[in-house]
């Protein structure tokens, strides 16, 4: 059970959050099919850190991006 740093609420227990998946840089809507394909479907598989989205569902409903160390679960700012 992680302690997740919400930008509004500070560190809160994982049960308050919903996982938003791997963080992506959204292309513009009119970007090409291959741009969207690369962003959505072609991901690297790092063993070190991951950028991910979290949603503070049972809190302030903020969506935010964090970097998490996959080995220690520590959040890096």
């Amino acid at each position: 059970m992680l302690l997740i740093p919400c930008p509004n609420c500070g560190e809160r227990d994982e049960i308050e959050f919903d996982y938003g998946g791997r963080a992506i840089q959204y292309p513009a809507l009119n970007n090409s099919m291959s741009d969207w394909h690369m962003v959505l479907h072609q991901r690297d598989n790092s063993t070190e850190t991951i950028e991910e989205f979290w949603y503070h569902q049972s809190g302030c409903e903020c969506w935010f991006k964090v970097t998490r160390n996959l080995n220690t679960h520590e959040f890096e700012s």
Binding site: M1, L3, A28, L29, N30, W36, L40, F53, Q57
Partner: protein, 893 residues
């Protein structure tokens, strides 16, 4: 009779006797006793039988590490709780305990046998009777024995006990209240930070309790001085998780069985002590063989004499001296001590130890062997998060004793009956790493988590395989450190409390109107409304007929509703939905489709414009939560620059749709303060105002049934009033409320798509015949990836309707479409699949919706709907997906 109790000393209260029952024998002990200490005081040495060989077993330890003395105890409701450690179970009034792994006949006969004078006879009966002749074991006894095998038995009854959960936070969490833990807690408290000290035992003190003769009451007083220090006894910390989370269970509470604690700490002090390790020698499992520190604990803490004649097998000198001193206090005769280089070659006795045999052929008569093979740090909790170093260090620091050999079984794991020979076999088979040997032999995999077995197993594996410890490795430590009941983990979230039930604002009023409910997702939703004693099918026929010929009403409150405001509201919606909605005007609404980023259809709903820069969006009930999350994600992550405010208003509104040719007349009877004639309130519009009883309302002209329809939204608190008035005024039209069954029949008759059936995560808008709704002159979520070639293939599955070719057969549900009937053993490639089937009340025959390869091109073809599950094939005619009022003229009447 507590014939083995010392007259004085110990942390027991001799003024408070407690009576309890063990194997139907009435025994007594004192407050402060564990079940184990009380049994020993009553001179009960045989407590359990072992899992595999059913060997007599006694009490080895005085704590959580106990591998042998497990019993079943009855709780106050009479429910038997299996596998309780006698060393952990506090003695309380009326405690009823029984030995486990017992031959069932013994259980039944135990009372009669007890009258013959000895409980031990009852236990021995089984062995004496069934161990010989030897070859009968496999042929005769085993199948009976297997029935009685396994560690304890669970009951099939529901657990009536109450369990609770709580949270706690602190700066410093100290686990363990021995001298180290107390020191750490006091110095942390002194510095002013918030401290929690938890102790698994029922009193503070740890080893102080048995290395001295009484509880240090001063310690408790000292702890109580600090307001920032909280201490909890009877609390087992059993798991460590990320970011300082400790899970613990507090037991022996007055009103609840246990409290499951989640404690979040900034720093954690593990002062969990160490566990003394037994010695591996032939016959080392006989009742009467006990860990040296446990012997001291029974003498000092419980004032119990664990034996009369003690033999010592303790390598460490200090440990030996402490034990000798304790035995002298208890008046126990010390009959010998294992000398350097000497070996224990075996023991004898049956229910109880009688003799120890040494290498020099000498046998010594004794009823207690105090063993110690060094101490291993209780580092399980810190090891759970990957720290194995503490274990490795304490393994290295252990004395490396003489190997004891002999013909009898030498047990390494007393709970799982794993012997040295078993480990030797594992090594011969190539499983010398502890992680492999463990799985091959089950060593260390018992409910005691191998607290007294894995360190010896590692030493034995090293010897047997002639490898050093780095090759043998260490085991992996996982929660829980000691068993925790499922009840404690589940808490109160059982039965109906497991998932909250959502009821719509109309629930109570519907209940009175004869509604039969069913769960759909989180909701308890109306299924149909029963009149008199009619069947469900009759009710559906009546409800459908009311909607098609007069008027019906249905609850639409479960739809997700989002209020969208802001300068960029239309721009936002136009990016989210694939439709061209930029031409929408205040007072009008559109049926809209939402795609996923990859172009697949995700949800349908409506967008209604209430005013300039103000919209109300509806979301499919099943997707409401997900869609809300998704809209927020888009607005907060890629498009924070848009001026849009989203408000979830799903629960604010009670929504009742009136549908049918008479619905406009019924609306007129409710007398809203706005025009409702055909021209001023056409299909796909919204109006806001008041009904004549001053109920504020929003009315939408949308239809899921294909009939003229008005969805009346009122603030949730007005639900009862609205439903009552609709029924009252509707009586003139013979109105019928309807539920999910009719809703579904009506939508299939109209060929409307639905989330979960046609919108199934694989289909595009074009697949479902809605390609024209997809804008080609703007970019929206999913527009790029919708262009993927695979989504443009002409042979994709597309939505069609099906009717039985003979006009009357029932089309099987969830069938596949093929060009020949189903035949066992014959492989067929399906051309499509059915998504919905219903017996159409309006048409009087079976109809179905299906996704069919090149569907629209196959209209008027005949295919077979085959269901291998039902072993049924029905010939069907492919038709368009709308079965009723194809032109849609009824919406505009």
């Amino acid at each position: 009779m507590q014939i083995r109790r010392l007259k004085t000393g110990g942390c027991i209260d001799r003024s408070k006797p407690i009576y309890f029952s063990f194997n139907n024998r009435l025994l007594d002990g004192y407050e402060g006793d564990t079940l184990a200490s009380a049994l020993l005081a009553n001179n009960v040495s045989l407590v359990a039988r072992s899992i595999k060989y059913h060997r007599p077993r006694g009490i080895i330890s005085a704590g959580l590490e106990e591998p042998c003395a497990l019993v079943a105890c009855a709780d106050e409701h009479g429910m038997m709780i299996p596998n309780l450690k006698t060393t952990e179970a506090r003695l309380n009034k009326g405690l009823t305990a029984r030995s486990q792994n017992c031959w069932p006949f013994v259980e039944l006969d135990i009372g009669a046998l007890l009258q013959m004078g000895s409980a031990l006879l009852a236990v021995g009966f089984y062995y004496k009777t069934f161990m010989w002749p030897k070859d009968w074991w496999h042929r005769v006894y085993e199948k009976f024995i297997r029935r009685a095998a396994g560690q304890g038995r669970v009951t099939y009854d529901a657990d009536k006990r109450l369990y609770d959960k709580k949270y706690a936070h602190c700066d410093t969490l100290v686990i363990g209240s021995g001298p180290t833990g107390i020191e750490a807690a006091l110095s942390a408290a002194e510095s002013g930070v918030s401290v929690i000290l938890i102790e698994q035992d029922c009193v503070i003190g740890g080893s102080v309790l048995w290395e001295k003769t009484s509880t240090d009451s001063l310690t408790t007083i000292k702890l109580k001085q600090y307001k920032n220090l909280r201490f909890m006894v009877n609390t087992l910390a059993f798991g460590q998780y990320d970011h300082g989370l400790i899970l613990a269970v507090e037991q022996n509470k007055k009103n609840v069985e246990s409290i499951f604690w989640r404690i979040r700490a900034k720093s954690i002090v593990f002062a969990t002590g160490a566990t003394e390790q037994p010695l591996v020698f032939p016959g080392n499992d006989r009742p009467g063989i006990m860990l040296a520190a446990a012997v001291r604990q029974y003498i000092y803490r419980y004032a119990v004499i664990p034996g009369k004649r003690a033999f010592l097998a303790i390598a460490d000198q200090q440990e030996r001296e402490l034990t000798e001193k304790a035995l002298q206090v208890a008046g126990v005769e010390i009959v010998g001590s294992l000398g350097e280089g000497d070996q224990i070659t075996g023991t004898s006795g049956w229910h109880r130890l009688r003799k120890v045999h040494l290498l020099n052929k000498k046998s010594i008569s004794c009823d207690l062997i105090c063993v110690s093979n060094g101490w291993i740090s209780n580092a399980q909790l810190s090891a759970q998060m990957g720290d194995k170093q503490t274990f490795a260090t304490s393994l290295e620091q252990r004395p490396n004793p003489q190997q004891h050999t002999g013909s009898a079984k030498a047990f390494v794991d007393l709970q799982n009956d794993v012997t040295r020979d078993d480990l030797a076999l594992a090594v011969r088979e190539g499983y010398s790493h502890i992680e492999l040997a463990k799985r091959y032999t089950t060593v260390g995999m018992g409910t005691d988590q191998g607290k007294t077995s894995w360190p010896n197993a590692i030493v034995e594996l090293e010897r047997l395989s002639a490898q050093d410890s780095s090759r043998v490795g260490l085991t992996t430590f996982r929660p829980p450190v000691s068993p925790v009941s499922f009840g404690a983990l589940v808490g109160v979230e059982t039965g109906q409390r497991m998932v909250p039930i959502r009821r719509t604002p109309f629930h109570n009023a519907f209940e009175k109107a004869g509604c039969v409910f069913q769960t759909t997702g989180d909701w308890l939703y109306s299924r149909y409304f029963r009149v008199g004693k009619e069947s469900m099918n009759d009710a559906i026929l009546r409800e459908v007929s009311a909607v098609r010929t007069s008027v019906g009403c249905v609850d639409m409150s479960t739809l997700g509703k989002v209020d969208v405001k802001g300068r960029d509201a239309l721009e936002f919606l136009s990016r989210v939905y694939c439709n061209n909605i930029d031409g929408i005007k205040p007072g009008r609404l559109r049926y809209v489709l939402m795609l996923r980023e990859d172009g697949i259809l995700y949800d349908d709903g409506t967008v209604a414009q209430l005013a300039d820069n103000h919209f109300l969006v509806t979301l499919t009930s099943a997707n409401a939560g997900q869609s809300w999350r998704w809209l927020n994600k888009l607005l907060q992550l890629p498009w924070p620059d848009l001026d849009v405010q989203l408000t979830p208003v799903s629960d604010h509104w009670a929504s009742l749709a009136i549908a049918g040719p008479q619905s406009r007349n019924l609306l007129a009877d409710l007398n809203p303060n706005f025009e409702i004639d055909k021209t001023s309130f056409p299909f796909a519009s919204v109006k806001q105002g008041l009904l004549d009883d001053d109920t504020p309302c929003r009315v939408f002209t949308v239809s899921f049934s294909g009939e003229l329809s008005y969805e009346i939204n009122v603030p949730a608190g007005f639900a009862d009033q609205l439903f009552k008035r609709v029924l009252d005024k509707g009586a003139a039209y013979d109105i019928s409320p309807y539920g999910l069954e009719t809703l579904d029949a009506l939508r299939i008759e109209k060929g409307h798509i639905s989330v979960g059936t046609e919108i199934d995560g694989r289909t595009t808008a074009a697949d479902l015949g809605l390609g024209k709704m997809v804008s080609t002159r703007k970019a929206f979520i999913g527009s790029s990836l919708l262009q993927r070639p695979v989504l443009q293939q002409p042979d994709r599955m597309q939505l069609v309707g099906l009717i039985p070719a003979d006009g009357s057969s029932t089309i099987p549900a969830a069938a596949h479409l093929t060009d020949a009937p189903w035949q066992v053993g014959k492989t067929q490639t399906p051309l499509g699949r059915l998504t919905a089937t219903v017996h159409s009340p309006t048409l009087g025959h079976s109809i179905a919706l299906a996704l069919l390869e090149r569907g629209p091109q196959r209209i008027n073809q005949k295919l077979w709907a085959v269901s291998p599950v039902e072993d049924k094939s029905v010939e069907v005619l492919v038709v368009g997906n709308c079965f009723y009022d194809v032109e849609g003229s009824r919406l505009h009447e």
